[in-house]
């Protein structure tokens, strides 16, 4: 049964909206890409120091956070399918799960950084400057900047998802106009994508 779909806003263009989001994602990829190049060069120049400093990081918590982010990426991807199937309840539930997983990721990060602070390791700390080699200082500097910038993206991603969730609930984001939700999903997958590379580079040095 065919019925005419009404377009309350003639300017709505799903393809352009997606393209705009991707252009923004490109700038994000190159921002982190630059940091990855800095990491690669310093690791190339200080292989032993990076190995030594890498042992300070907790692989288990890193792996746990990897899985949390991967699952959250799946739940938000599923929510974009759910909204197209006009299943509003499931869309909302999946987005709520995504937000909870993001929160758990941040809580883990809080404890992980907390342990580093307890060991006297933070950018510019006395322990770092007095007792560690140049390479180790570089490693921890990059660790705090890159995981910190990533955590900031998690926080921003959560805000965007909460925004999308509210628009799904009040019906302005729906099966005919899913762009906001899809773009929120793309942003969240970007955050996941960056973590996929951060994890082996920082936590898997042995």
């Amino acid at each position: 049964m065919e019925h005419v779909t009404q377009h309350p806003d003639p300017h709505y263009d799903q393809e352009a909206s997606k393209l705009g989001m991707w252009l923004f994602i490109f700038t994000e990829l190159l921002l982190f890409g630059g940091l990855f190049i800095v990491y690669a060069i310093y690791r190339f120049m200080n292989p032993e120091a990076f190995k030594l400093a890498g042992h300070e990081l907790n692989m288990t918590i890193g792996a746990l956070n990897t899985i949390i982010l991967l699952v959250s990426s799946m739940t938000i991807a599923m929510s974009t399918s759910a909204i197209q199937k006009k299943n509003k309840g499931l869309t909302v539930l999946l987005l709520e799960i995504t937000i909870m997983l993001a929160l758990i990721f941040l809580i883990n990060k809080y404890f992980e950084w907390g342990v580093k602070f307890e060991h006297g390791i933070w950018p510019g700390s006395e322990h770092l400057i007095n007792d560690m080699s140049q390479g180790e200082i570089l490693f921890f500097g990059l660790y705090f900047v890159m995981t910190g910038l990533h955590a900031l993206h998690i926080v921003i991603g959560m805000i965007i998802i909460i925004f999308a969730l509210r628009r799904v609930q009040n019906g302005t984001v729906n099966a005919d106009r899913p762009s906001l939700l899809e773009n929120a999903g793309l942003y969240w997958h970007l955050v996941d994508l960056i973590w996929i590379f951060l994890f082996p580079l920082f936590y898997l040095i042995h």
Binding site: A40, I41, F44, L70, A82, H189
Partner: protein, 94 residues
């Protein structure tokens, strides 16, 4: 205006992708544990690249997007590798 066909990915497909991503995560931990020396970094990065390809094609829907978008995403990664390569040439030969 006719509505463009929009591919709806079944939930099951996303679940399988997640399972593959988790398996690859454990494989990348495994390859570090068995200690292949310099090759373990290479191995872990190959697993990360495969994982990112899965996220890009399935979770980010590139598989179902128009070719120009796939070409643009590919071009950004090519640009990144070219810049990385040139930077390393600079450091290696200085």
């Amino acid at each position: 205006m006719e509505k463009e066909k929009h591919h709806i990915v079944p939930y099951k497909a996303y679940f399988y992708i997640l399972a593959a991503l988790i398996v690859l995560t454990f494989l990348s931990i495994g390859i570090i544990k068995i200690n292949l020396g310099a090759y373990s970094v290479l191995g872990a990065m190959i697993f990360a690249t495969v994982k990112s390809a899965l996220v890009l094609t399935w979770f980010m829907h590139l598989k179902f997007d128009k070719p120009f978008l796939r070409i643009m995403v590919g071009a950004v990664f090519v640009l990144f590798f070219v810049v990385t390569f040139i930077t390393f040439l600079d450091y290696y030969y200085r």
